[in-house]
């Protein structure tokens, strides 16, 4: 997977590049809008992560010129502007997503995955499987090692979310947002309690753990080693 990162703040470049690299992406960096356009037209990228406020021609303009010349590479905007108008402007230009700084890095990875997945045909249909854990959306049933596990509706929704994004770190905010529609203005630590309850049913009775805490960030569901 090739990512073009357009960002002028070198510290931001450093950590995004490093983080994406560790998540299996190959990253090219452009500091200016003109460089970004040159790279975008000369290479094939799977996704472009584009900062709005860059020197020279800004992110909006880069986006505009890309689309004008028929380059349909998915774009995620990065910005410190969180006004609704800005967000709408970005999406209207054809951006695929919009992330406000500061953001959790795992959030960026998750969004990149989501955008990339969007392009592909839906996989797996209605059945999720991680290791020996199965979630059947149609039957509304959770089974681990052949044993059916009873979950409350919210626990079920939570598990479904984790399984759908298996391998991606989900931040507390993202979980609270996806399940309860609650943004960062709410106490997102409550998510820990919900996770604890879910783990008590999914992981505690089994030796092999599937739900993992990413300290200070959030949770990920995946089969490890």
């Amino acid at each position: 997977m090739n990512v073009l990162l357009v960002e002028d703040e070198y510290k931001t470049v450093d950590f995004i590049k490093k983080g994406l690299h560790e998540n299996g992406f190959r990253v090219d960096v452009a500091h200016y809008g003109t460089d970004a356009l040159k790279l975008a037209f000369s290479h094939e990228y799977d996704i472009i992560v584009l900062d709005v406020m860059i020197p020279g021609i800004d992110g909006w303009e880069v986006m505009h010129r890309l689309r004008e010349k028929g380059n349909m590479t998915p774009v995620i905007f990065l910005t410190a502007l969180d006004g609704l108008e800005d967000r709408l402007h970005g999406l209207k230009l054809g951006a695929d997503d919009y992330i406000v700084k500061p953001f959790a890095f795992s959030e960026l990875v998750a969004r990149i995955h989501t955008v990339l997945r969007r392009g592909q045909a839906k996989t797996g249909g209605e059945l999720y499987r991680v290791g020996d854990l199965e979630l059947d959306l149609a039957a509304h049933r959770v089974v681990r090692q052949g044993v059916r596990i009873d979950l409350t509706p919210k626990e079920y929704t939570l598990l479904a979310l984790l399984m759908r994004y298996q391998g991606d770190v989900l931040t507390r905010t993202r979980i609270a947002e996806r399940i309860w529609n609650l943004d960062d203005f709410h106490d997102t630590n409550v998510v820990d309690v919900h996770m604890r309850r879910l783990r008590a049913k999914i992981d505690d009775p089994f030796e092999k753990k599937l739900i993992h805490t990413v300290r200070g960030v959030g949770y990920v569901l995946e089969e490890r080693g």
Partner: protein, 470 residues
Amino acid sequence: MSEPQPLKGKPSVSIKNELTTHYVFSFFLILVCTIGLIYWALVAAIKQQGVKHMKDEIMVLQTILNSGDPRALQRKIKTSQEKEFAKLYVRILDRDNRVIVQTPEMDQLLPLPFFHEPVPLEKLNAEGFRQYQANGKAFLVESLWLHVLGAPRIVHIGLDVSSIEQILGVFKGWLVLVMLVGLLASGIVGRYITNRGLRPIDQIAAKSRQITASNLGERFEPHNWPVEMHELTMALDDMLDRLQHSFERLRSYAANLAHELRTPIANLMGEAEVVLTQRRDRDEYERVIESSLEEYQRLSRTIDSLLFLAKADSLEVRLKLEIVRVKEEIHNLEDYYEVSAQGRAFLILCDPDMTVRADVTLFRRALSNLIMNAIKYSPEGGMITVQAERSEGYVEVSVADQGIGIAPEHLEHLFDRFYRVQEAKKLDTRGAGLGLAIVKSIMELHGGAVAISSDPGRGTKVTLTFPAAG
């Protein structure tokens, strides 16, 4: 301190000019009336004097004529004519209007046609005589039937009153002069009095100009000023009270803000510095990085909150109003928070059809804030009551706990930014004290209100009032 800048725009009305104009106008009116009256009285008196003189002369003439002494008559006619002032002109005619004798020059000055039909002495007009202006002179004239030595004669009498007119003319000139001088004097005096009377306003302006942010404690103190300035000085003092209060709040706001931002930064710097002073094992590094993540999140949350409040203040927050189903929202929040309520029970009293027109994200934030507080400050096993009621165009959503309550002196400040009750700080060290301020902003954005009531030791109830949907 800068001099007052000239004001721009439409020329303003000057109270001083207006008052002075009124002064001058009133004074002028009084002056004109007084002087007019005096002049009129004077003219009347002098005319009266002329009439008396004329009557006297007629009497004297009659006596002379009756005495039948022609020399006396001659003398009277001649001497009279030689006088400088009040010259008397006499003409005696027979019944056929033939001149018998007359004062020289009378022909030119007072020819026959000037005189009316003669009247008998008994019918002599007591009120006054006819007056003629001729050749720049003024005369009182009368035509009488008199018996001269038994024969009826027509006597024409003319009294030269030009000197009287002259005196009146001079007098008139003086009066006009007095009037002009009076007018000028009244202008000057009026201006002086106005300036003097309005001096307190200048003094208030001068004092106001000296008040800056550094001496907002200064007051005008109404009792130091004339009664008429009490209203104004009181209003100014009230304004200063409010300004001072706002300034103090702003100052403490800035101090609190610095504190809220510095604390996490201090933690970050300190931890990083300490951990870097020597080699540590991996766990230690991870612990520090995790701790810093928490601090970053805290900073980020504080900034988000401040940004939201600032935007709400400047009305930059655009509400996405929609019909919000209150019970669903309460249940969703209950579902989320219940797990952390640790034995605190929720009691939800809400009509399932209850709706409000609100921005649902902000509605959730407001309600969530109250529920978080209720959980935080409730004892275990306590009941948290979330209730929604409709009353005349409003929907009231309240969250009540059975917690420690809040002392009355804190209640009015609870919605201030960064305001935290000491006891609350011990219970929750993570909050920045912006939660209720945000709730208040949200309610104001919705044209609603938030109210708090508390019974120390028994619990607190916060009520959100939304305008009803539809």
